[in-house]
Amino acid sequence: MSIEVRAHAGAAAHLGPHRSAKSIAFGTWFVAEHRLRTMRAYLSSIIMGSVFNPVMYLFALGVGIGSYIDANSGSHGLGGVSYLSFVGPALLASAALTVAFEETSFPVLGGFKWTREFWAMNATPISGRQVASGVLLAAAIRVVFTVIVFWCCLVAFGASPSAYGFLAVPSAILGGLAFGSVIMTVASRLEEDEGWFAMINRLIIAPMFLFSGTFFPLESLPVGLRWIGWISPLWHATQLGRVATFGMKEPLWLTFGHLAFLSIMLALGLGLSWKSFARRLSK
């Protein structure tokens, strides 16, 4: 049989004296590539979801509720734009966060707990850090796809009037990844699911979705509750999106504040997940 004859002949020629050189350079991408292959198993639901979701939400909220709100508030209610334009960037950002959550919650717990495939990756020259980065990179690719499709829907619905509207795309992606990196850290520290993700869904994502200036300006909330928005990646990503799509007026420092908040959250989340992936794999 050829394998016995050719042992030690083929692979070595491709790898050279330092067997980890390519893995160190491209390991994160190899992990992402693997995740993308796995996603193919539910590719149809990914595509359907990313088209169906925006159309449904934009139609119901923007056109349905929106026409009612616009008729009552006139042109001054929401910074002079239609309700559809107001709510559009928020829905865009929340789609990014939802997809990032999907790709960093159960897949991460599963990689450690159910299929244990993260251990398989770590048995090769791939490091724990690269596993974490690769999972986030694959999530990022899915987020980018989702956000671009969603933004096209926004444009089609006439909900992104500004010429700089496309900048809502990177800000939604940044929001999604900032959130995803934190979820990934949490998931990598769970021993069992024990309903944790359901709880995160109900106690963190649901309130975040409702109280991050998504459907009404944060200023409409009592001062005592506005902190929910301030610590919410959704609010920061939404506000950035609004500045981009309809030129929402806010001080420049605040716009940079949103950017800084999300960037720091992403850096912290990724750094912490590096630590917990490496620790768990080397136990």
């Binding site: 049989m1 050829s2 394998i3 016995e4 004859v5 050719r6 042992a7 030690h8 002949a9 083929g10 692979a11 070595a12 491709h14 790898l15 004296p17 330092h18 067997r19 980890s20 050189a21 390519k22 893995s23 160190i24 350079a25 491209f26 390991g27 190899f30 992990v31 590539e33 693997h34 292959r37 796995t38 193919r40 198993a41 299929t115 244990r116 495939e117 251990w119 398989a120 990756m121 770590n122 048995a123 090769t124 020259p125 791939i126 490091s127 794999l281 080397s282 136990k283």
Partner: protein, 311 residues
């Protein structure tokens, strides 16, 4: 990577502690090129911990460890590039197909797609999974998954293949197929390191082995040498019925080299079982059943690690 004297793995005073517990307590061993080396021991003996240190995923707490003449603390990823790892629990990606599992894994070593496509075909054939190449892993039997895991570990043409309890949980047919595959690898010159608590497996596959218990090495050598050193040539097993065992044991004192009285039977370790059995019958003792067999590694193992249950 050239190595001195063809020593693939060298451990000196190798230690791993988890808090107070010393899971591996100052063990010394060497594995040479082309050898099948066994780590035997009951649960909790430190086999898997030793294996994880060799696999460069768990850092040692003390002592020296060199794999392919390199220190895993400094060259972990490079050394891992030369290893194939078959873990105790399968960790295949069950959502993708058999062939994809091999290709994806090969990518982690930085191998190009062109090479991997041919290599995957070869390994699928080696693992006798040709009919299943396009199946999802979920649809494979336990034995097939095991063979796929071994095939996957060979994708980078490793210098050392680490197998942690490779046949645990498999039926006899599946075990024998697997042994055959491993034997072929051994013939091809692949160095094998195997942990197991199946003695027949160790006798079948290992050129040399160490018996571990509570983190320490109890004995080391070839299976034949260990049997010679720690057991007799043959064993006579006698059953008198559990209520008569103790009384019969009294009368058997002085027989063979050593007598072991168990709740259900008496074992006489001896050079010649048939002769002893004849003498017993002559003496008018009537065991319910009697059996003369050759001594096995299992006798050595039980002598060294005790008969009490470790859970």
């Amino acid at each position: 990577m050239e190595t001195t004297n063809d020593v693939m793995i060298r451990a000196r005073g190798l230690t791993k502690s988890f808090g107070e517990l010393k899971a591996v307590d100052s063990v010394d061993f060497e594995v040479r090129k082309g050898e099948a080396f066994g780590l035997l021991g009951p649960n909790g003996a430190g086999k898997s911990t030793t294996m994880r240190m060799i696999a460069c995923v768990s850092k040692r707490s003390g002592g020296e460890l060199r794999i392919l003449d390199r220190d895993p603390n400094e060259h972990g990823p490079d050394i891992r590039g030369h290893l194939g790892v078959v873990p105790q629990q399968d960790n295949l990606d069950v959502e993708i197909r058999v062939r994809e599992n091999l290709i994806v894994y090969g990518r982690y070593f930085g191998l190009p797609m062109k090479f991997l496509r041919t290599k995957a075909e070869e390994l699928i054939e080696f693992a006798q999974l040709t009919d299943k190449a396009r199946s999802k892993v979920d649809n494979l039997s336990g034995g097939m998954k095991r063979r796929l895991t071994i095939a996957r570990a060979l994708i980078n043409e490793p210098d050392i293949l680490l197998l942690d309890e490779p046949t645990t949980g498999l039926d006899p047919q599946a075990r024998h197929i697997l042994w055959d595959r491993l034997f072929r690898l051994k013939e091809a010159g692949v160095t094998l390191v195997i942990t197991t608590h199946y003695m027949d497996e160790a006798e079948q596959l290992c050129d040399r082995l160490i018996v571990m218990d509570k983190g320490r090495i109890m004995a080391a050598g070839t299976p034949a040498a260990l049997i010679q050193e720690y057991s007799s040539r043959e064993v006579v097993e006698l059953r008198f019925g559990s209520d008569r065992n103790a009384a019969a044991a009294e009368r058997l004192q002085g027989m063979g080299e050593r007598i072991e009285v168990l709740p259900d039977r008496i074992l006489i370790y001896t050079a010649s079982g048939e002769e002893d059995l004849a003498r017993i019958v002559e003496a008018g003792m009537r065991p319910v059943t009697s059996l003369v067999r050759r001594s096995s590694l299992e006798d050595v193992f039980l002598r060294l690690t005790g008969r009490s249950l470790i859970e």
